[in-house]
Symmetry: C2
Subunit: 382 residues, 2 copies
C-alpha cells in the first residue's frame, strides 16, 4: 500500500492524498458509499461508475452470514461477486455484532453472537475475522474491535480498550501470517476506541500506533454522543496518529460533519445517511436538506438542486419525484439515493480541490453559508 499526502491545508490539519489499493488509486478525502450486503442500496455498479464512486464499503458480519463467505470466495472475491471492479473496504462486523444482537457474549478469545437473520449461533475471533476478509478479498480489511455504546462508564471503556488493543495485535499477527487468496494485495486498518474519554482515546491510539498498522480508523463515534465530543475525540486522535497514514472516521456523518472532520485531519468516511435519507425522501442540496414529500413540491417543475448535474437533477422535476414518492414507486428510491450519493461525492471532490488550492477555509465557509439557506427561510417564515 502506498499513501501520499499531496497537500496539507495551511490553516488546519486538512489534507489531500492519494491512496493506492489492489483495485485502483483513491483520491482523499473520500466518501465511501455503504454497500453492506455487497450492494449500495438501490444503485447498480454502473450507477456507481457514473457517480465516480472510488471505493465502496461492505460488511464482514453481513456477508459472512449471507450469502456466506464460501460463495463470495468461490466467485473470486466480493468485487467479482458484486461486479463492482473498484476497491472495497470491509468493516469487521464488530459494530454489527454489538448493535444487532442483544445476545452477544464477549470473551478474551472473541465474541459469541446470534445471527440477526435466523438466531443461529456464531463466534468471531480477531483471527477468524481476518481470515474471512482474506476470503472476501476486500482491499482494506478492518480489525475486530469492541464498539462501545454511548454513554459508557469510564471503567468499562478502560477494560474494553484492553480487548480492542489485544484483538488488534492478534489481527495484525494473523494478517502478517496469511496472504491474499485472490491475487491482489490487501491492507488492514486498526480501529481506535475509547468512547468520549480523551485519555482512553490517546491510550488506545498509542498502543495501536506502536503496532504500525498501514492505516487507522476512529470508531465508536457518531453513536449518540454530542457533536462537540465527536469532534474533540477526532482531534485527540488525529493529533497523534501518524501523518503519513490514512485516517478513517467510521460512520460519520452529515455533510457539515465531514468538513469539520476533514479540518481535523480525516481522509476517509462512510455513512448510511445519503442512501437511507434518499429512501426516506430527504434530499441533500446545495441550499440544505429538503423533504420531497412536502406539498410545496407538488407542482414544482424545477430540479432538486439547481447546482447539481446528477442524472436525477438533469432529468426530473421535484413535482415528478414527489409524485413517485407519494405513489410509493420504486424508481424514486434509486433516483434520490443517486442524487444524495452524488452530493456527498462532489462535496469531497470540491473539498479536495479547495485543499489543493489552499482555499479550504473559504470553501468551507461558502458551503455552510449556502447550506443553511432553506433553514433560514423556515426560520423567517415562523
Amino acid at each position: 500500500m502506498k499513501f501520499d499526502i499531496v497537500k496539507t491545508d495551511k490553516d488546519s490539519r486538512a489534507r489531500a492524498g492519494l491512496f493506492e489499493t489492489g483495485h485502483g488509486t483513491i483520491q482523499t478525502p473520500v466518501f465511501m458509499p455503504v454497500g453492506t450486503q455487497a450492494t449500495v442500496k438501490a444503485l447498480s455498479p454502473d450507477d456507481l461508475i457514473q457517480l465516480k464512486a472510488q471505493i465502496i464499503l461492505s460488511n464482514t458480519y453481513h456477508l459472512y452470514l449471507r450469502p456466506g463467505t464460501g460463495i463470495i470466495a468461490g466467485a473470486g472475491g466480493v468485487q467479482k461477486f458484486s461486479s463492482w471492479n473498484g476497491p472495497i473496504l470491509t468493516d469487521s462486523g464488530g459494530y454489527q455484532v454489538f448493535s444487532l444482537n442483544d445476545l452477544n457474549k464477549i470473551k478474551d478469545e472473541g465474541v459469541y453472537f446470534k445471527s440477526h437473520i435466523d438466531g443461529s449461533k456464531h463466534f468471531f475471533s480477531p483471527e477468524k475475522v481476518v481470515q474471512i476478509q482474506r476470503d472476501l478479498g476486500s482491499d482494506i480489511m478492518m480489525v475486530l474491535d469492541e464498539c462501545v455504546p454511548y454513554p459508557a462508564e469510564y471503567n468499562y471503556v478502560r477494560k474494553s480498550n484492553k480487548i480492542t488493543i489485544d484483538w488488534a495485535k492478534r489481527s495484525l499477527l494473523t494478517f502478517n501470517n496469511t496472504g491474499p487468496v485472490h491475487g491482489y494485495d490487501q491492507e488492514i486498518f486498526a480501529i481506535v476506541q475509547g468512547s468520549t474519554y480523551a485519555d482512553l482515546r490517546t491510550e488506545c491510539a498509542k498502543a495501536l500506533i506502536d503496532m504500525d498498522f498501514p492505516g487507522y480508523a476512529i470508531g465508536g463515534l457518531s453513536v449518540g454522543e454530542p457533536k462537540q465530543a465527536m469532534l474533540d475525540m477526532t482531534s485527540v486522535c488525529t493529533e497523534i496518529l501518524p501523518k503519513h497514514k490514512p485516517r478513517y472516521l467510521m460512520g460519520v456523518g452529515k455533510p457539515e460533519d465531514l468538513l469539520d472532520a476533514i479540518e481535523r485531519g480525516i481522509d476517509m468516511f462512510d455513512c448510511i445517511l445519503p442512501t437511507r435519507n434518499g429512501r426516506n425522501g430527504t434530499v441533500f442540496t446545495t441550499f440544505g436538506p429538503l423533504a420531497i414529500k412536502n406539498s410545496q413540491h407538488r407542482d414544482a417543475f424545477i430540479p432538486l438542486d439547481s447546482e447539481c448535474d446528477c442524472y436525477t437533477c438533469r432529468t426530473f422535476t421535484r413535482a415528478y419525484l414527489r409524485h413517485l414518492f407519494v405513489a410509493h414507486e420504486l424508481l424514486v428510491l434509486k433516483l434520490l439515493s443517486l442524487h444524495n450519493i452524488h452530493f456527498y461525492l462532489r462535496l469531497m471532490e470540491k473539498t479536495r480541490s479547495a485543499i489543493l488550492n489552499q482555499s479550504f477555509q473559504a470553501w468551507k465557509k461558502e458551503f455552510l453559508e449556502n447550506y443553511k439557506y432553506y433553514d433560514e427561510i423556515k426560520q423567517n417564515n415562523k
Copy 2:
C-alpha cells in the same frame, strides 16, 4: 396517424407494421411496458431507452387520481412530466374503475366510483375521460368501456355491450370536437368487449368498426377465462377488424400467448407480467421461466439466460442475483424487471424479423421448443 402493414405472414394473420405517433414511429408487433403511474416500476427512462422500448403504457384512472390531471397538464403532458420522450398510450381506466372498486355504479351517463387511495367520490363519463387524456397528452388514448369480469351471464354482457358501444360513440364525438392541448397529434382507440361470446364480440366489433376509429383494442380478455377462449375471441375479432388499422390485445400475456395472438393478427400488447414477475423473482429466459430464489442458484456463477445480452445478464451471476433477492435488496427488483422487459422486447423484435423473412411459423416452433426446456427437466426429475 399512419399505420402501414409492411409484411403479412404467408401462413397466418401475423403481420409486421409501422405505426406513426406524435412521439415517433413504432415497429409492430410491439410490447408496451406498463408504467401505470407514469413510471415503469423500478426502471428509469434511461433504462427504457437502453432497452429500446418503443412505447409505454400509462393509466388515466391512476394519473387522474394521483398526481392529478392538472399537474401533468402543467408539466406539458405525461411525456414531459415523466421525462420519457417516446410515445405513451393511456388506458382509459375502465378496467381500474371496475377492478379496484367494489363500490362503483354504472349508469348510462358514466360510472360513479370511489378512489382506491382515499375513498373520495368520482365520476367518469366517456366525454370526461377523453378530455382527461387530452390534458395528459397521451399519443394514443383509449375510450371508456365497461370491462366485464369473467365469467359473466350472456344477458349481462349483451346489455353491457350497448353501454360500451354508446360510450365509444360519445368518446369519438368528443375526440373529434376537441383538439390536442400539448402541440402534437393524439389518436383514440375503441375497445371491443363481449366476454367469451363470439356473437357478442362480433356485434360489438361491427358497431365499433362502423364508427371508423383509428385503431381497435380487444378488451376483457386475460381476466380468468381459459386460454383457448382468449385465443378464439381474438380470432373472432381479428377476422373482422379492418386489416389496415392497428389491433391491440389488452393485458396479454405470457410469451407464448403473445406469439399465439400475433399469429391471429394482433399488433400491440401490454402486460404487467415482466415487471411484476421480476419483482417476485420469476425470470423469463430462452429456456423457460426460472425462480431466482431456488437454492440451486446459490453458487451458480452463470447469467440468468446464456442467450441474453441485457445489462443484468452481461454483468451479474445468478448467485449474486439470488443473494440480492434473498437479502431483500432493492437493486434486484430493477435488475430482474430490466431483464424481463428486455426478454419481451427482444421476443417482439425477433418475431417481427421472422414475419419480415416469412419464417414466422419456424421461429415460433423454435422459440417454444427452447422455452419448454426447464419444464422438461423438471418433468424428467419427477
